[in-house]
Symmetry: C2
Subunit: 329 residues, 2 copies
């Protein structure tokens, strides 16, 4: 019989969803970045949970403070993709018996720091015995129902935008995992792994502008996020302006990697990928810029359900692949 | 330096809380059964998280379906203690690589069954690689701010009530752990461990009756719950009618255990322990009975901060001890 390692994360999620009764009139359907619960008076509680397991999710050079903070960011990023303001988080923590008092303090301070960066608070949690450090967070945010951005809603002709550049975390992970060094800008790349940033103010600005037709965070990689939006919306994407971070171009050049590969197929990169009504691009861009963010047009939504990229005078296919748990060994 | 196993769960929780900024105007303070977020218009989102780790929390005879269902019940019980209606749950699951497809189906169906029993739904979650099965749930419920019951609020003279009898899970765990058998009613005791019940309708009825001054669930044992209420409210308790389940009396008699010990110091028993304005006892009792539950008066809140019990013509102290993670080996 198939086991977890044969199935891979995406088949496992399908298997689980098939066993669950669906809540009627869910404001956000299953399989989106976050879930929502109608609280009446046009208010939605937007909620999301994400677990970090030290053994599989934490590079050796990442401190416990950073790992705990990152768990908060992972959760908050999913709220950002819905345009929800994070308010509070719960943290359920599994602790091995030999962990020190100082380790616990570092985890707690990391959780607090992550929450406070986004004006949220840790309001509760649970502690448990476990054989490895497990940090499971749930973020709760709030959003007006009329402003909520879902994964569905993209239409052919919509502009495609992103809130930052790509490839930094894939490069940073390579530096950490393969101990690559001797490269000037490697701090930026490593920091993108150790100290990720969630695009909360950008997500809220986009939601309030009411011109965003669909959004997803790029935590499984840009290519996979495009694929997900393509599947949900039954559309395709034509990307003609892949924003590769300059440090990634340099890193790829020095170490002989393909920068496009690094930018498309990495993961744990918490940018927002959004589709915008074409007539309203400037409004969306201004909204994001007004809160200190950037919104870069990278292409168009197409009627044909393909993922294409134009680069170096060639049009190539983007593979529907990205970060997946259980299948990464 | 002290480690997790020297500190014990309660000191660990204090350590964590000291590292966290407190959310201003929290509707429910830190350290209560659940947390709450103000959603405006007198509505609170009541949230709680609880993690189950197979190795430490699941008896060998408990199926994965039962373990998953129990995780939901643990979470929902904390909402019940606040008088909140559970609406939705998120489940973050850690899965070992060798787990089978059927195991995942059983976990998923158990989660769904637990939620549906209380009219709630699983609306989202996360899957992860882990070396043991980890099920971390977050329950989200809703409650009018005016109806919310907290741990604080008990006054000397208040009546003390419980929603059921005690000692079943402590006895059931002994049967499962020590393979005790040959006892007629052992099914009831074992079932209390494998198929726990949360007192949701009782909690909501008590909240709506607006005569409950404080409440807690008895998941760490009745004695510990009394101790917690005593600490938070700066009051004591005089218990004169400890409702020991008849099956527990029989079990204790056959195997030579002290039934009072089983009833006071067990854990994972999801009854509600409440304090009620003395003039309104009948109103509270009728409210619980109107939804098919029971409310038994077990004693009084006292001004003196002691935990006393009158039984067999003797008055004895109740020790402030109960179930605690990390210290149970």
């Amino acid at each position: 019989m198939s086991s977890v390692k044969d199935l891979g994360e995406r088949k496992i999620i399908k298997l689980i969803l098939n066993c669950l009764d669906k809540m009627p009139n869910m404001p956000i359907p299953f399989g989106d970045d976050a879930s929502a619960i109608d609280m009446g008076h046009d208010k939605l509680a937007v909620i999301n949970t994400d677990m970090l397991v030290r053994k599989t999710d934490v590079p050796r050079t990442m401190s416990l403070w950073q790992a705990a903070r990152k768990t908060v960011i992972m959760n908050i990023s999913d709220l950002a993709a819905k345009g929800a303001q994070p308010l509070a988080l719960l943290a359920s923590i599994g602790l091995p018996p030999n962990l020190t008092k100082e380790d616990i303090v570092q985890i707690s301070k990391g959780l607090n720091a992550g929450a406070r960066e986004y004006n949220a608070y840790i309001v509760g949690g649970d502690t448990n015995e476990a054989s490895d450090i497990i940090i499971s967070c749930t973020a709760v945010g709030v959003c007006n129902r009329t402003n909520l951005i879902k994964r569905s809603g993209a239409k052919p002709g919509d502009f495609v935008g992103v809130t930052g550049s790509f490839g930094k975390t894939a490069s940073g992970l390579k530096i950490l995992m393969d101990s690559l060094s001797g490269f000037d800008s490697q701090g930026v790349l490593v920091d993108s792994v150790l100290m990720p940033i969630a695009r909360v103010k950008e997500g809220i600005a986009l939601a309030q502008s009411q011109v965003t037709t669909a959004a997803i965070d790029s935590s499984d990689g840009l290519a996979w996020s495009l694929h997900e939006l393509s599947q949900v919306n039954n559309v395709g994407f034509y990307i003609d302006n892949l924003p590769i971070a300059p440090e990634v171009e340099m890193f790829a050049d020095v170490h002989g990697f393909d920068p496009i590969e690094l930018a498309l197929y990495g993961g744990e990169e918490y940018e927002l990928l959004v589709t915008i009504k074409p007539m309203c691009w400037q409004k969306a861009k201004s909204a994001v810029e007004s809160v200190g963010g950037i919104l870069t047009k990278i292409g168009l939504v197409s009627k044909e359900k393909h993922l294409l990229m134009h680069s170096n005078e060639k049009t190539v296919s983007i593979d529907p692949r990205g970060w997946e748990h259980f299948k990464t060994e």
